[in-house]
């Protein structure tokens, strides 16, 4: 590391006036004899002044209008995000199927035929449901009877075949 490298390291602190007096004297003596480091120190000072003089630019009225519209855009985005939730996708799929079926129905020249077919299918579905309900009822009754008989068997059960001496 050359003396210039060492001075360069502490030059910003020297320009900011943050060095101890002895260290600052050392830098001053080096700068007196080294034009390259003296030019660097001048550059640092110039850069500080030049940066401080950079003007602030006014944002355009169009940008301000865009920024004022941000909360509204944000709300719109939020509502879109809700609509895009994966949990709602089956609902949208079902709604699409219904919409297609409804549009086919509306476009069909033979609506009566479709209505009859739908009524027949609904009736068939209802009958199937009724049969299933009746079977389920019968199954429940059977299970109830089985439970009663099991309960009665357990009550009369005497596993050791002994008589109760205290009851005698």
């Amino acid at each position: 590391m050359t003396p210039c490298d060492r001075i360069e390291e502490i030059l910003p602190s020297f320009i900011d006036g943050d060095l101890a007096p002895a260290e600052a004297d050392l830098v001053r003596r080096h700068l007196d004899g080294c034009p390259a480091c003296a030019a660097l120190a001048a550059g640092l000072a110039d850069a500080g002044r030049a940066f401080a003089a950079f003007p602030e630019i006014e944002p355009s009225p169009a940008l301000i209008a865009r920024l004022r519209a941000v909360p509204r855009r944000r709300r719109f985005r939020f509502s879109l995000n809700v609509l895009l939730k994966p949990s709602l996708q089956p609902v949208f799929a079902a709604a699409s199927v219904l919409a297609v079926a409804f549009s086919l129905y509306m476009a069909s020249p033979d609506k009566k035929h479709i209505e009859r077919a739908v009524a027949r299918e609904l009736h068939r579905g209802y009958s199937t449901f009724e049969r299933l309900a009746a079977k389920a009822g019968a199954l429940t009754d059977g299970l109830g009877a089985a439970a009663d008989s099991l309960y009665a068997s357990i009550k009369t059960l005497n596993p050791l075949g002994k008589t109760d001496k205290f009851s005698q």
Binding site: L11, P12, A36, D46, A47, I57, V70
Partner: protein, 174 residues
């Protein structure tokens, strides 16, 4: 109103960082969009300006990472960037204007985190502690990064724009 309070500050930060007006306007809008999304998470115990500037810093660095500013071109140093003449000597004023011009283009030679640190400290006049809070780094690290950037820019002033490229020595951590 947040727009009244912060639009100028954020737009200037974005402009000084990106270097051209259309990009800076898009970035400012993006930062305000992010702000509205992040507001519910704001901790009222924190300094709002520092918190908002941190959010802006993250947006700027993210955008830089995403695009590497491939399509970006820093605006020519034009009348918008000319400071009000505070020097009675026109020749000296010309020299200072030339220095500002070199520094404006020299900002591109800095890696994005260093560029932001220099903009916050040297142009926007923030203290080291405030810059450290925005960047989420220790004050010592921020000081050393800013000093290295200042040295690189001073070399550009001393040796001309080629010094920034030759020096490109400052490693871009991104």
């Amino acid at each position: 109103m947040l727009v009244d309070l912060y639009s100028k500050k954020v737009f200037n930060l974005a402009y000084q960082f990106a270097g051209n007006v259309p990009e800076a306007e898009d970035l400012t809008q993006d930062i305000f969009l992010k702000l509205h999304g992040a507001l519910p998470r704001y901790d009222f115990g924190k300094n709002f300006t520092a918190w908002f500037l941190t959010l802006a810093k993250n947006a700027l660095i993210d955008e830089y990472r995403r695009t590497k500013w491939e399509k970006r071109q820093r605006d020519e140093f034009d009348e918008r960037l000319h400071a009000a003449a505070d020097e009675s000597d026109p020749e000296l004023e010309l020299v200072r204007e030339e220095a500002r011009k070199l520094l404006w283009s020299g900002l591109d030679a800095l890696p994005p985190d260093m560029r932001l640190a220099v903009i916050l400290k040297e142009i926007q006049g923030k203290k080291y502690e405030e810059v450290a809070e925005v960047l989420g780094l220790p004050v010592g690290t921020v000081k050393s990064r800013i000093n290295r950037a200042r040295l690189q820019l001073a070399k550009i002033l001393r040796d001309g724009p080629a010094a920034g490229v030759k020096q490109g020595g400052i490693h871009d951590p991104l």
